[in-house]
């Protein structure tokens, strides 16, 4: 697997490179800003791009825009956006603009075990990745009397994993359940929340996210 990294902090870039190399992931290019990243992507055509949301020149959401551009030009390249702050708006924007094979993680994850590597691998498979902390936050404030209250604990758990972008199989593995059980949980959840049963995972994530954020 080949990965390109974009972050304006040299320290972080070096650390990421070592972390990925150690996991036998080939870091084929690195960049300090969005323009450099675009050039690197054109030159090396990586499988996954890891990009910090905040980069020069304005240090706002260059990373999101770069992700959307890369996804538009190269639908086969997955993008993982790292952010110092967790925010549903950023996540939704990313899902809407970059579609599937895009991920949004709290930047702290790079220091936590295999979180980053798992995310990169899932993205390489074309999955969607959303930070669990974002999902927890959204679930925690679901309003009283909302249909979410009708969900069983198991169903809630499944729902949050859905929102994180996990596939049915991923959820099954994570929860030690059979895929069939997961499927039936998911059907129940979508029915209870009144959400359409969409085959596309990304759409499913977006729908759940929109539902939770409302």
């Amino acid at each position: 697997m080949r990965v390109a990294i974009a972050d304006d902090s040299l320290l972080v870039r070096e650390g990421l490179k070592r972390l990925l190399a150690e996991a036998n992931i080939d870091v084929c290019g690195e960049a300090g800003d969005a323009d450099e990243l675009a050039a690197t992507v054109e030159k090396t055509h990586p499988d996954v791009v890891i990009v910090d949301i905040r980069m020069p020149p304005t240090h706002s959401d260059e990373g999101l825009q770069a992700a959307a551009e890369i996804r538009a030009r190269h639908p086969d390249i997955a993008v993982l956006v790292l952010s110092q702050y967790i925010d549903a708006d950023y996540a939704l924007k990313l899902l809407q603009e970059s579609g599937e094979a895009s991920g949004y993680l709290l930047k702290d994850r790079i220091t936590q075990g295999t979180d980053l590597l798992d995310a990169v691998r899932r993205l390489a498979q074309g999955e969607t990745v959303l930070d669990p902390q974002l999902v927890d936050q959204l679930l925690a404030r679901a309003r009283e009397g909302s249909p979410i209250d009708d969900l069983t604990d198991r169903e809630r758990h499944v729902l949050s994993l859905m929102a994180e972008g996990l596939t049915d199989r991923g959820i099954a593995e994570r929860l030690w359940l059979s895929p069939k059980t997961v499927e039936s949980h998911i059907r129940h959840i979508l029915q209870k929340l009144g959400l359409p049963e969409d085959r596309s995972r990304n759409r499913r994530v977006e729908a759940v996210l929109t539902y939770l954020r409302a």
Binding site: S9, L19, E22, S60, Q84, D87
Partner: protein, 569 residues
């Protein structure tokens, strides 16, 4: 009116009455004029004295009043000639016509009542010398048992003196009328209002006397009819003096209206109001330029100050406060003869100018204050942004790098004895990163700059304990407005989760008529005290700095609604 003058004033009423009774009685009993003229004669003396005394009370500083009283008294003295007593005749003869000299004096000194210019003083002195001529003529009048004052029978001398006296009176009268006529011609509208009645009455008297003289010269006799016009004119003269002066005084009543009027008008109409009150359409109001001696009108045009010379028709009166010139009134010189009126108007104008100046100062200070508040808030926000950037680019990235290193280390010492220590270090680091993130977000939320107020509001809503609905489209506002709105929402949500006991809350962000309207409501217990804590008070300052308003509605049991309106053109 001082005590002594007041005593004199009271005494003059009975004294005047005695003079009138004695003088007019002689005229009634033995006078040569037709009896039908008696009421007129009585009117001349009594009205002259009475109007003079009344005027004296109304215009204590004006010498016209005592002179009028004197003229009336002298008129009655002329009448005692008729008592067929040599002494009475002598006295009466001496004073015969003397009231006309006083009238001429009055005319020349009018309206100020005093002779300011030297040539006029000489003229009046010359006029009074005619009295001496009359006395001399009386002394040389043949006795024949009627004139106790006769010292020498000298018909030629007497006739010569009489001629000198008569010609002198005619010349004096013409000169006096010319003086008043010149003054009238040169006067402003306001001056003419005061001079007009007197000038007219004087002309009438001159014409009547002239007619009398012409008729006598032509016919050699005095028909009854010629007695009337001069008496009517003499009757009108004291009234004209009194009327003119009272009218001038009435101008001061208008000052009261002026004060009220000035209170509500601007500098431009102030000049018109002053001109109207002083009856001087040529009046100009000049405002002093700061730190300069030049004056400009309300349009900024320079106002020329007139010279000090008597020949200049304009005069300048300064409006001062604490010895400092605020403004200048350039007005008709004739107004200087009404110092009290001008003083009152100046006082009224000073009030208005003070007011105007205070308001202007206050306005400029407010504008300055608002600007400086906005600058302070702007500077503080800029500093916050810079701090947050520094934290993000510096400490946060370094801690992340440390975390990455620890993460790598973990793979290498998986089964090492130090593994628990590493885990501890990682946990501490995660906490540090979390705390640093919260600190940075509190200093300045990055999402606010990147995504705007609506997105930032959703983020705040997401982190709260109470479910919050956000009604907002993604429109952007000026950064200062978004920042103020953000802190307002943050503070309100904090209060909601701490005190409100609410089950739900909502945030509405809209833009209407150039106003950003941010409303945060909840269904809690209400009764929030805006004075409690510094959170909301600081927000009132921040929103005030943007010229915005904050309204808090928190009746007990009705939830709390906090609404801010901030201009954002």
């Amino acid at each position: 009116m001082s005590g002594r003058v007041r005593l004199l004033w009271f005494a003059l009423w009975p004294v005047g009455a005695c003079f009138v009774v004695f003088g007019e009685l002689g005229f009634w009993l033995h006078g040569t004029a037709p009896r039908e003229t008696f009421p007129l004669d009585l009117g001349v003396s009594s009205i002259s004295i009475a109007s003079g005394l009344v005027l004296w009370r109304l215009r204590p500083g004006n010498r016209t009043a005592p002179l009028l009283v004197l003229a009336g008294l002298l008129w009655t003295v002329g009448g005692i000639r008729a008592y067929q007593n040599p002494w009475a005749f002598g006295v009466g003869q001496c004073f015969d016509g003397s009231q006309d000299l006083v009238l001429a004096h009055l005319l020349i000194a009018y309206p100020a009542g005093r002779l300011i210019r030297r040539p006029l003083r000489a003229l009046v002195a010359a006029g009074y010398s005619l009295f001496l001529v009359n006395v001399l003529a009386t002394l040389t009048l043949p006795n024949h048992g009627v004139n106790a004052f006769s010292v020498r029978d000298a018909p030629n001398v007497h006739s010569a003196l009489s001629t000198v006296g008569n010609v002198g009176v005619v010349v004096y009268a013409i000169t006096a009328i010319a003086v008043v006529g010149t003054r009238w011609a040169g006067a402003s509208l306001g001056g003419r209002r005061v001079l007009g009645p007197v000038f007219a009455a004087a002309l009438l008297l001159a014409a009547a006397d002239a007619a009398d003289a012409i008729v006598q010269a032509l016919t050699g006799s005095q028909p009854d009819i010629v007695f009337f016009p001069p008496l009517v004119a003499r009757l009108l003269i004291p009234l004209a003096f009194a009327f003119g002066l009272v009218r001038a005084r009435l101008g001061q009543v208008a000052v009261g209206d002026l004060v009220i009027e000035l209170d509500s008008i601007g500098a431009e109409t102030m000049e018109q109001a002053l001109a109207r009150t002083l009856h001087d359409p040529t009046l100009r109001l000049g405002f002093r330029l700061a730190q300069a001696d030049d004056f400009v009108d309300s349009f900024g045009r320079p106002v020329e100050l007139p010279g000090d010379g008597d020949n200049d028709r304009q005069a300048a009166t300064f409006i001062e406060r604490d010895g400092e010139k605020l403004a200048v009134l350039v007005h008709d010189r004739a107004l200087l003869e009404h110092p009290r009126l001008v003083e009152s108007v100046v006082a009224a104008a000073r009030l208005a100018l003070d007011n105007e100046q205070l308001q202007a100062q206050l306005r400029s200070q407010l504008v300055e204050l608002r600007a400086s508040r906005a600058r302070l808030v702007e500077a503080a926000d800029g500093e916050r942004r810079r701090l947050e950037r520094n934290l993000h680019d510096g400490a946060q990235q370094r801690l992340l790098a440390v975390g990455l290193a620890l993460n790598l280390l973990r793979g290498r010492i998986a089964n090492h004895a130090a593994a628990p220590l590493l885990e501890e270090a990682e946990a501490e680091l995660a906490h540090a990163l979390q705390e640093l993130r919260e600190l940075a977000r509190g200093i300045h939320p990055a999402i606010l700059t990147d995504q705007g107020l609506a997105a930032a509001a959703r983020t705040l809503a997401a982190s709260g304990a109470v479910p919050v609905t956000v009604n907002a489209n993604g429109q952007r506002f000026p950064s200062a407005v978004e920042t103020a709105g953000y802190y307002l929402i943050a503070e309100a949500l904090t209060n909601i989760s701490r005190y409100a006991q609410a089950t739900r809350a909502w945030i509405t962000i809209t833009r209407e008529d150039g106003l950003a309207r941010i409303e945060i409501g909840d269904d809690g217990i209400g009764g929030a005290d805006p004075g409690r804590g510094t959170g909301l008070a600081g927000l009132v300052d921040r929103i005030g700095a943007l010229d915005g308003r904050l309204a808090i509605d928190s009746r007990p049991g009705c939830g709390t609604t906090i609404a801010a309106e901030i201009p954002c053109a």
